[in-house]
Symmetry: C2
Subunit: 270 residues, 2 copies
Amino acid sequence: MIEPTLSSPIGVFDSGLGGLTVVRSLLEDLPQESLIYLGDTARVPYGTKSREAIFRFAEEGSAFLLGKGIKLMVLACNTMSATALPELAARLGVPVVGVIDPGVEEAIRVSTGGRIGVIGTAATIGSQAYRRSIQARKPEWLVFSQACPLFVPLVEEGWEETEVAAMTARHYLAPLLAQGIDTLVLGCTHYPLLLPTLRRVVGSDIRIVDSATQTSREVKNLLARTVPENPGPASPMRCYLTDIPPSFIGVADRFLGRPVTHVERASLTP
Amino acid sequence: MIEPTLSSPIGVFDSGLGGLTVVRSLLEDLPQESLIYLGDTARVPYGTKSREAIFRFAEEGSAFLLGKGIKLMVLACNTMSATALPELAARLGVPVVGVIDPGVEEAIRVSTGGRIGVIGTAATIGSQAYRRSIQARKPEWLVFSQACPLFVPLVEEGWEETEVAAMTARHYLAPLLAQGIDTLVLGCTHYPLLLPTLRRVVGSDIRIVDSATQTSREVKNLLARTVPENPGPASPMRCYLTDIPPSFIGVADRFLGRPVTHVERASLTP
């Protein structure tokens, strides 16, 4: 492990490319910080895999980023945040920020009636991490969860504003709407791209919380409290991927909202 | 590598669980043969990944199955058959059967007008393997291809007979239908589960070719010509998976059409 300094980069780790929605917020909120992105695109998605597999992948990726001398790691993936965050935070030697607690805190801030809907991958929802985090703060609040395994492939196919996406969203969200939720937490970094469709399905009264934006604010607060901010200027973001499939460019650019440059292939296994 | 004998098993290798549709046909056509299944469920899906990644995964899985003493390997995955079959066949030391040529031969047998539609993953379609295989035999025939990345997640979610699946199929198949195809080849081992929906979308006049059934016949023919058949009785199928997620049981049983037993975790990387 390289000893971090003021100008050390922040590491952002995701199973694939969805974490680039978090990078997008970080670039806006912390323009002077250097970023290193790691996407495990050779094994993506994590959300349909076992807890044991996700944990092993999270360890391998963290070791890779530590080897690059990061001063703070963002687990920009709900599946990993739900599964591996406490263990990684306890032994990594640098602060680790996940995407779940920031989303939960915002949901608690905006909820009008204490009835929270959470959507995410099968692994995130199965972990009950959102429910536990909300009810640790608000034991009397009700949390209704729904796994939405088709949302990630729909977004990756670029179909987020099609009638197929709307019909899929109506199907997944019907049980949450029937429970009278007042707030919907997007528990997956792919879902912000579905926002216009989700808004049409849930109507205008329900608050929608996007954890990407909240996570970036949490990183900013944490830097202010613990790790010194980079005086700047930032180096261009380096993007490491374990696989670079032909579809990468279009998908990555849509998530980031600008072209992704400085892409290198990484190997996480010996 | 263990020297194969009469009673050595047949290895069946897939990126995930879709290859169990091929196993289903093998169990019917070759009940006296022992089978070993390998599904790389830790890295599934392959079809959205790069050619280099797929090739490496194919090599690692083949080495695992050779280590189990197989006498013949079935690449029960269109993505791997399209990408890695010739190289593996040239150096594996046991016969290798893919799923593409058997499907192509059946399409040529049943086509009424030499206008073939092929659907598959992005990697399979991008490889042009079906087009090349068909036009090597029938240079004047026309081949129209369409990648359908949402079909695999729809099947794995159990949504294959929903209106969402039908709408998705209408979208993907419209360009093929507009070209007046007379035959549709299902170039992915997940797609047989979509058969009722695809039949409704394409109507009753178009022939639909399922390569799982054809591949099983090709294995039977090859055994008759080269590797002696097992005098029997077969051992129960051993099923090796690189990850065993909670959703495994339901999905695997639907593909195989009966309960999957004897499941073990395998590691393909050092």
